[in-house]
């Protein structure tokens, strides 16, 4: 099994008529054909005002409502430009699309504050924004990650960073360790889904054997996650924090640091992870081998 998406997922792409949207819809489509036997495919595009056209071999609709009704789409992948992206997220949320993945980078924070408020009490999942998306290898690719580096398997991957997610996946695959699902949660100040919700899903997923969490300096999300995992996750876990050598003084102002309750240095995060029983990879080159070690220890 996987989490969030699988062969049954039917994806619509918001912003499919744009340059990046078009390119990546094509890549996702190709992944579905090559690696997933046609499952987890892109079934529709949405661009307001361009309904009736065809893009990447799928019909384009004016609205998410129409696309979902006509094609049975139950997940949305968003490539809409920053000024209009929050609106695109809200449209999918309001149409009860189950899984909403927003790749767009550069959305104003105030827009996301409002989206975050709007989502309260609703149960659809938002991943991102400013993220590479989600992939369940061999089932469904919903994002911009290079598909061929993945391998179907039993490691769950959660990461704040985009390309660092590819790095860890490539290292796992090189060690012969496939992945159940890989999620880039995004690096913006406000993101739809944090580590803990995904950890819970991986812990409940019978086919996920172990989980790797990749974090970055700043804030306390990784520490909170580690403390939660100590009590709630029984599967082996590996952690890595990027930014061990980042110089101080290049972060948000005083007030921000106070609110997040500490400076969130890599050393502090790694220490808390270790205290909570997570095996920490010190070097970004050792994430895959550290997972091999964690599996041995069980």
């Amino acid at each position: 099994m996987t989490i969030l998406i699988n062969k049954e997922t039917r994806v619509l792409v918001q912003g499919i008529t744009g340059r990046e949207g078009g390119f990546h819809a094509g890549q996702c489509q190709q992944y579905s054909e090559e690696f997933a036997g046609g499952g987890g495919a892109i079934v529709a595009g949405v661009t307001p005002g361009k309904g009736g056209q065809t893009a990447n071999g799928v019909p384009v609709f004016n609205s998410v409502a129409e696309a979902a009704r006509e094609t049975g789409a139950n997940a949305s992948l968003i490539f809409v430009p920053p000024p209009f992206a929050a609106d695109a997220i809200v449209e999918s949320i309001d149409e009860s699309v189950q899984i909403v993945v927003c790749v767009t980078e550069g959305i104003p924070v105030r827009d996301m504050v409002n989206v975050h408020r709007h989502r309260q009490g609703k149960d659809n999942v938002l991943i991102g924004p400013n993220c590479p998306g989600v992939i369940s290898p061999g089932e469904c690719k919903m994002g911009i990650m290079p598909g061929h580096i993945h391998k179907k398997g039993s490691i769950g991957v959660i990461s704040k960073s985009g390309t660092l997610t590819y790095e860890v996946v490539a290292q796992l695959t090189e060690q012969g360790l496939g992945q159940s699902s890989c999620i880039g949660i995004g690096g913006d100040p406000i993101i739809g889904t944090m580590y803990i919700d995904l950890l819970r899903r991986f812990e409940e997923d019978p086919e996920t054997e172990a989980i790797i969490v990749i974090g970055e300096i700043g804030g306390t999300a990784e520490q909170d996650t580690a403390r939660w995992a100590k009590d709630n996750v029984k599967k082996p876990m590996v952690g890595f924090i990027a930014g061990q050598t980042a110089p101080p003084g290049r972060r948000m102002g005083h007030a921000g640091a106070i609110i997040s309750g500490g400076e969130g240095t890599a050393a502090e995060k790694m220490r808390v992870m270790e205290e909570c029983g997570i095996l920490v990879s010190k070097s970004p080159a050792d994430m895959g081998t550290t997972m091999v070690e964690a599996l041995k220890r069980g």
Binding site: E105, V109, N114, R117, I149, K160, S161, L164, G219, G256
Partner: protein
Amino acid sequence: MNIHEYQGKELFKKYGVTVPRGKVADTADEAEEIAKEMGGAVVVKAQIHAGGRGKGGGVKLAKDPAEARKAASEILGMTLVTHQTGPGGRVVKKVLIEEASDIANELYLSIVLDRSSGRPTIMASTEGGMDIEEVAAKTPEKLIKIQIDPALGIWPSTARRVVYGLGLEGEQAAEGAKFVSNLYKFYDEMDCSLVEINPLVQTADGRMFALDAKVNFDDNALYRHKDVAEMRDIGEEDPLEVEASKYNLNYIKLDGEVACMVNGAGLAMATMDIIMLAGSSPANFLDVGGGANKDMVENAFRILMDDDDVKAVFINIFGGILRCDVLAEGVVEAVKTVNVNVPIVIRMEGTNVEKGRDILENSGLDFTVGNGMADSAEKVVAALKR
């Protein structure tokens, strides 16, 4: 994006956030004129994008116009070093001349996004003028934190909670609540990422002023605020960082010798980490971003080569949205126009990696190919030693 105190105060006025009477001056003559206009004692304040100006000698009290002139001539042109400027300090180009306030009480007020709740949060304290991090650490009970529901915005009762928490009463409480509400409206409508007033002062005659103004804006929202975007002072930024921002490159100059070009902030930080683990140090952080085109890569490469400290280049790209062939074309173009006299190690994986490698191999460019991060970092460090 940061702005100067005087700019922040001009914007405050538009929102009814009260500030002392004042004007900005570029010369000592202007400073004297403004002091005459003000009448009475004035404060002459250095305008740089950093805190701690008073301790560094950048803020002076002047009883009359002649003293204001003298203070301005001392401050203008000085290199002001504070705990936030770094050892190099900043050259002062403007001073703010303000009427001196008869201060009865100093408070602290700020608004910032609380990432964990996703809501703007008002922070206030009776300990104005102090280092607020210290207040939070030593006397957390003296720091009021109130989250704002963005769907409601600020309501009078919310503003009252702030001012009653600060111990204000009567007319002062009413005026304070108005001040807090206006500041929130400013923060919200102007897409700020931080507004901090330290100190917020009450005068002996019962007025309330923002004596300082620290305002940061969300870069992603600047397209909605052209007037704010025009306030940018590039003299306050590193020249190479200014150049990089023209091309939407996320570049930070560091002290080391290995220039890095990476896509994605996380991988860029991890690349810096592995350079350090391999025994050298990074010359910069450079994230060319997800949507980089050939032009951006070319300019990024040029900026790396403009840094005299650079002794080797490590290009680490894991193609996702950025395709490896695009990266390769950009590097090849850049090398044609830029004089490259340091070793280059390139590590590429991901989308269109085969095409990218073909382009590099057929370019005649002299470079070393790295396999994975550890191998590449070792090759960079080995190249440095040759």
